[in-house]
């Protein structure tokens, strides 16, 4: 009852939020989400490019609008995922070892914005490359070796993967 009343007041006046969370779930960080989002941006650019020769009818417009919306969303995922790893995972020991992480993170923010703004494959590929570099550093902080390989699906671009040891 009282909660319902407060919830209604909350929608009207908007109470402040007091956070009772600090880094939960603890210590689960993985750049894979950002990498997949960056690959998705490239793939969406490719799909948008394909539509350049399509008839300029309402169907094409609808497809363009859907693809552009997803491209926007995945560009944002890259930014959020990288920001969280940079802000929450990287602490003094990692930053001392990889002082370039700040500039790299900032460059990823800029590259993601650029990739969002236009339909330009080069921009999207550049974003993936920066995210790959971020992933390499991330795995190195964990003492995990990495390798580069084409992702086994379109857009088949070079992606950094961790070289994990299989359980015996």
């Amino acid at each position: 009852m009282l909660h319902n009343l407060l919830a209604k007041m909350d929608t009207l006046v908007g109470f402040e939020e007091a956070s009772a969370h600090c880094d939960i779930p603890c210590k689960i960080y993985d750049p894979a989400t950002a990498q997949i989002a960056a690959l998705t941006v490239i793939r969406l650019v490719d799909l948008l490019e394909e539509l350049k020769s399509a008839p300029a009818d309402v169907n094409t417009m609808a497809k363009v609008s859907r693809l552009a919306k997803e491209k926007e969303a995945h560009g944002l995922i890259v930014k959020e995922e990288i920001r969280v790893i940079w802000g929450d995972y990287f602490k003094q020991p990692q930053i001392e070892k990889f002082p370039q992480i700040h500039e790299l993170t900032h460059n990823i923010m800029l590259a993601a914005s650029k990739a969002k703004q236009e339909i330009n494959r080069d921009d999207a590929v550049k974003l993936l490359e920066l995210v790959n570099q971020f992933a390499e550093i991330f795995w190195e902080t964990k003492g995990v070796a990495t390798f580069r390989a084409k992702c086994p699906y379109l857009p088949e671009e070079i992606t950094v993967y961790p070289q994990l040891t299989p359980e015996a």
């Binding site: 909350d10 109470f15 939020e17 007091a18 956070s19 009772a20 779930p25």
Partner: protein, 97 residues
């Protein structure tokens, strides 16, 4: 003065869950004691709810109720002036079951 806040996160669970409301009362600095739940303006984490772990000369240590919470070391020792009130009531969100 009473300040009402909406709780987010799980570090004060099970006593406070996300979506609950908490009322915090302006509290005299000299009456803060370990064990009290408090509203804190934290320089890194913003406005947070925690439990007072220790009250020392002008400073306090904080902890969460849940084992998932950040450690008191991670939250650091905060000046008494960071405290924004003592939680005097929690209104729980009704949960199914």
């Amino acid at each position: 003065m009473i300040r009402i806040v909406r709780v987010s996160g799980l570090s004060m669970s099970p006593g406070m869950m996300p979506g609950d409301f908490a009322a915090a009362l302006n509290w005299p600095a000299s009456l803060y004691r370990p064990g009290q739940r408090v509203l804190v303006q934290h320089p890194a984490f913003g406005l947070i709810i925690k439990r007072l772990d220790a009250v020392e000369e002008g400073v306090v240590w904080l902890s969460g109720d849940s084992p998932l919470s950040s450690t008191r070391e991670a939250m650091g020792c905060q000046p008494l002036s960071a405290l924004r009130g003592r939680v005097i009531a929690v209104v729980r969100r009704r949960r199914p079951g």
